[in-house]
Symmetry: C2
Subunit: 229 residues, 2 copies
């Protein structure tokens, strides 16, 4: 597929590398491609800058937001939650119309310090806000409940653990589930929670995720729904 990834941070990079390796035509969208290519600030986890990372990628395209989704079959929102709607507006409603958006962003609010709270929650969600702003876009919330390495490499956690899917369009959810399976997620571990309002549930997992990170001392964990047979 022709996949456009919005966001050039660590999550965007991890997703882009993996999907390119899987054989997709990958385009990353950013406000100013020339400026992004020159970013030399090392990221906190890999220690690598976007500039150094991008030099090693052969075949991943970097374009401005306006052009990024023109040919896309599939769009992934890997921007920060606070930037998401603004970025999508720059991509352009007409360019997004009818397409599937896999939304992996979380509405984290760092303005009050650590751990972040959520800038929308409980009676609304970022997934719903995006769907409301772009009614012709088929928003599917998924993958937002774990660290980026597990998202793209579920085998890094032993045993069964879950990925959740929320969205209004059944075909769009099927397309996302197909992509998840190609990444390595087992069908039995993909839980369809229902319509996009169920994104409230997965976005509200972030507060315990952040506290587990502190309590366990690492981020190599994921939620598993353990059921009685």
């Amino acid at each position: 597929m022709k996949i456009t990834i919005l966001g050039t941070g660590m999550v965007g990079q991890t997703v882009a590398s993996k999907l390119f390796k899987l054989g997709h035509i990958v385009t990353m969208g950013t406000r100013n491609p020339e400026e992004t290519k020159q970013r030399t600030q090392a990221n906190q986890i890999t220690g690598e800058s976007f500039s150094d990372w991008f030099k090693k990628q052969e075949g991943i395209k970097l374009t401005n937001l306006e052009e990024s989704a023109l040919e896309a079959d599939f769009v992934i929102n890997a921007t920060s939650g606070q930037a998401s709607i603004d970025v999508l507006k720059k991509v352009g409603e007409a360019n997004l119309s009818g397409k599937v958006l896999l939304d992996i962003a979380n509405p984290l609010d760092f303005s009050q310090g650590m751990p972040p709270s959520l800038f929308v929650s409980n009676t609304d969600s970022l997934g719903e806000q995006i769907q409301k702003e772009f009614p012709e876009l088929k928003v599917v919330k998924s993958l937002n409940t774990m660290n980026m390495l597990i998202m793209m490499n579920p085998e890094s956690i032993p045993g069964n653990h879950n990925v959740f899917v929320s969205g209004n369009d059944a075909n769009a959810k099927e397309k996302v589930s197909g992509l998840l399976k190609s990444i390595g997620w087992k069908q039995e571990n993909i839980i369809d929670l229902g319509d996009i309002t169920t994104a409230r549930g997965t976005e509200m997992l972030l507060p315990i995720w952040l506290r587990l990170w502190t309590a366990l001392g690492h981020a190599n964990f994921n939620f598993h729904i353990q059921q009685s047979k």
Copy 2:
């Protein structure tokens, strides 16, 4: 121990029966014991009324709130979230001072229909509100992330699954963990998240819990944090 359970609903009944079977001296506190004993409305899950349930209990005491915690070593809040602080005020700050409160209530708001939202979340929690209102009470939030049958019978779900503990007082958390182990929770499955502010994380699990209940079609599940070794 002498354990006082506040709340006579399904959760209170399930907790009381189990702890009585484990050999504790169990008192249930309610606003009007005579009225409570005459409740004939069947509950939604067991189909049994409080009146019928209570007739079968030999040895569990039922008292008014003011007297309920006088001799208690340990108090459990199994009231509805919206009633919790009012009920604790009626129990009396002096009667609670210095005691451990295991808070299993959730701040569910049913006023906007189903599924309920939370009346406090994100930057505060019911656990914190109780701790703030009763500074001399040692509040430990736990068991609020699963159905009542799993709380008191963790073996009903196969394999490993977790119970979380949040609270400011290390000794109080140890006392709660000891009770959890006596109920059947394995030490390795008890996760201490940190101070009482971490109750935000566990209370905010309710929105996904409610949606999983719908998506899976049953409530016989619990969260497990699957980690890489």
